[in-house]
Amino acid sequence: MHITAWLMFTILALICFGVVGLLQKLSTDLVSAESALVWLIVGFLLLQPILYPGRALLNYSTGNIAIVFSAGVCNALGSWAILAAMKAGGKASVVVPFTAVYPIVVCLLAPLLLHEHISAPQGIGIVCGLGAIFLLAS
């Protein structure tokens, strides 16, 4: 069987993101959500040398740099909250799929903020996502 490079990378990404859900639960069983977040960010920082764009950073507008930087702040808040959810007794098998439906909010806000339209599949996705939240919380 021939596995193409892109497929191998895709499967690796899928496994990595899936394993992370488990690690979130395992870590918050042993340390506080806040401590888990700090060490998570340290783990992230270890990859910074690979990603460092050098002088290319100077070519981007300050506004867009601030926006992407703020995206990181939101990501950190979301990451802290999922760790806190698990620390507060949420099951990994419930919290991970529950929080994975966050694109619902994006789809609802995108028409207002980005003047995008909700496509038919996205509309069905919103309904399914709300149903999923309802069932996972039951």
Binding site: W6, F9, T10, L12, A13, L14, I15, C16, F17, G18, V20, G21, L22, L23, L26, S27, T28, V31, E34, A36, W39, L40, V42, F44, L46, L47, L51, P53, L57, Y60, N64, I65, V68, F69, A71, G72, C74, N75, A76, L77, G78, S79, W80, A81, A84, A85, G90, S93, V94, V96, P97, A100, Y102, I104, V106, L113, G125, L136, A137, S138
Partner: protein, 147 residues
């Protein structure tokens, strides 16, 4: 019966933390969408990670991250960050090596199924039939959003 369970769940802290996660990550996705019009993936990831530092600093300086420490817990947390980063790098590599954007996005968005399988196998978590239906519905929803 479902409503009774639901009213019990909304009184639990994990539920509201999960809602906060949804809001935080939705903000992340929206801001990234705006910023990515000019900034490519790798520099964007560098800047995003830099954006995570202030919260870590606040938690360290205020002492919120103190408390009972466990070496194993620290290792799990470190791995959490490293593996997430590797996952993102693999995702970018998949796009760069010719993967169809939709196929890559849909496949990787199925990660809750991997977590679910691992949680059942390794943590022995149990879900009710309704929650399993919810998991499947969430999967359909995530796939539709990725299209």
């Amino acid at each position: 019966m479902i409503m009774l369970e639901l009213s019990r769940t909304v009184k639990q802290r994990w539920f509201w933390y999960s809602v906060l996660t949804i809001l935080g990550w939705a903000g992340w996705a929206l801001l990234l969408k705006i910023g990515s019009e000019e900034i490519p993936s790798e520099p964007s990831l560098f800047l995003q990670t830099t954006g995570m530092i202030p919260l870590a600093l606040i938690l360290v300086v205020t002492g919120s991250s103190r408390g009972p420490q466990s070496n194993l817990g620290v290792v799990y947390s470190l791995l959490n960050g490293i593996i997430t980063g590797i996952g993102i790098l693999c995702l970018l590599a998949a796009y760069r090596s010719g993967g169809n954007t939709s196929v890559v996005a849909v496949t990787t968005s199925l990660y809750p199924l991997v977590t679910f399988a691992l949680a059942i196998l390794l943590l022995h978590e149990k879900l009710t039939k309704l929650q399993v239906c919810g998991l499947l519905l969430a999967t359909v929803s995530i796939v539709l959003f990725s299209l």
